[in-house]
């Protein structure tokens, strides 16, 4: 019995050791990359079902603002789709002036966004007024 455990552990260690570490900038998607112990024809339906069960979705990792050369505030939102399916959603960025008051613009409308499963995504928005110093962003489901 102990021998069997040893063989299993050894297999897991060896197989993970054989798995090549890709450049983190390059995302080789499931079905394109080689199967692994954690992701193969047997385990895949289980992991996908589990992901859906626990309700994995969009997670925002950071939001960066900077002033463009033209003098407009630029917003970069980076995040990850932690689920296995493509997540489609809408987002709206509203711009705030130095007093925290909203700046009415024609660009603050619901815009569509799509992030593929288990992938990072980025959103870029440009404030159309020089008075914009901050922002607020909202999301909603893509109907």
């Amino acid at each position: 019995m102990k021998k069997l455990e040893f063989v299993l552990i050894a297999l897991i260690v060896f197989s993970s050791g054989c798995q090549k570490q890709n450049d983190s900038r390059i995302h080789v998607r499931e079905g394109v990359a080689s199967d692994t112990l954690g992701s193969n024809i047997v385990t895949r339906p289980v992991t996908h079902a589990f992901s859906a069960l626990i309700g994995e979705g969009i997670e925002v990792t950071n939001a960066v603002t900077r002033m463009s050369d033209a003098g407009f505030l630029e917003l970069y939102v980076n995040g990850n789709n932690t689920s296995y399916g493509t997540k489609r959603f809408r987002y709206r960025v509203e711009w705030l002036d130095k007093d925290g008051l909203i700046i009415e613009t024609k660009t603050s409308v619901w815009l569509p966004m799509s992030a593929m499963g288990k992938s990072p995504f980025s959103i870029k928005a440009v404030a159309p007024r020089k008075q914009a110093v901050d922002f607020r962003m909202d999301t909603r489901k893509w109907e």
């Binding site: 407009f72 815009l111 159309p128």
Partner: protein, 201 residues
């Protein structure tokens, strides 16, 4: 007999009123209505928002001396099967260009021109108007940049029951003196739906 007829008429009226589709205002800020195959206001909002952000973000409207460009709206071709007033797109873009503080739009020339600018200049010889209040010669400012573009559509049969319609919004910003193009962009809006839906209205 009369009472019966009156009763019937009343009942029909009550039932018909109950079946009538109630008119509702659209919540244009948070519209959760279904997408339609034709272009609706949400598509123009989306296209205008993307175009404005692209144009301002590119820095094409930033003048080297810190001044403001004079921009004229040129021809925006509607090459779709729908009757579209292209101002539905351009007014939003012109408004944002103006409010950005980087450029002013001209009403003297182009598709956004105001006929009264020229008509009032014809009053120079009129004895009815105070000549000091009539615009002098050579006072109009010529545009430095022009915006022109095109909206067109492609209809593609997706399968037996489904059609795909692609709407392309293309805009370009050109320098009048040199003819050089400072900025251009394209926004694609794609729709897939029943073959029975019509996109020509």
């Amino acid at each position: 007999m009369k009472a019966k007829v009156l009763y019937l008429i009343t009942m029909v009226c009550v039932l018909a009123a109950g079946c009538a589709q109630e008119t509702k205002m659209i919540d244009t800020r948070n519209d959760e209505g279904k997408a339609v195959m034709a272009l609706d206001y949400r598509d123009f909002d989306l296209a205008a928002s993307k175009m404005v952000q692209s144009m301002l973000g590119s820095g094409a409207l930033k003048k080297a001396d810190g001044g403001r460009y004079v921009v004229a709206t040129g021809r925006i071709v509607n090459d779709t099967t729908q009757r579209i007033d292209t101002d539905q797109l351009m007014v939003k873009i012109e408004t944002e260009i103006l409010n950005s503080g980087q450029a002013v739009m001209t009403s003297a020339i182009g598709s956004g021109s105001d006929e009264l600018l020229h008509e009032t200049r014809e009053l120079r010889d009129s004895e009815e108007f105070d000549p000091n209040t009539v615009a002098k010669r050579q006072t109009l400012i010529a545009p430095e940049l022009t915006i022109s573009g095109k909206i067109f559509q492609r209809n593609i049969s997706y399968d037996r029951n489904t059609q795909q319609i692609e709407y392309y919004f293309q805009l370009k910003l050109s320098d009048v003196k040199s003819g050089l193009r400072f900025w251009q962009d394209e926004t694609l809006i794609g729709k897939r739906g029943s073959n029975r839906s019509v996109s020509w209205q």
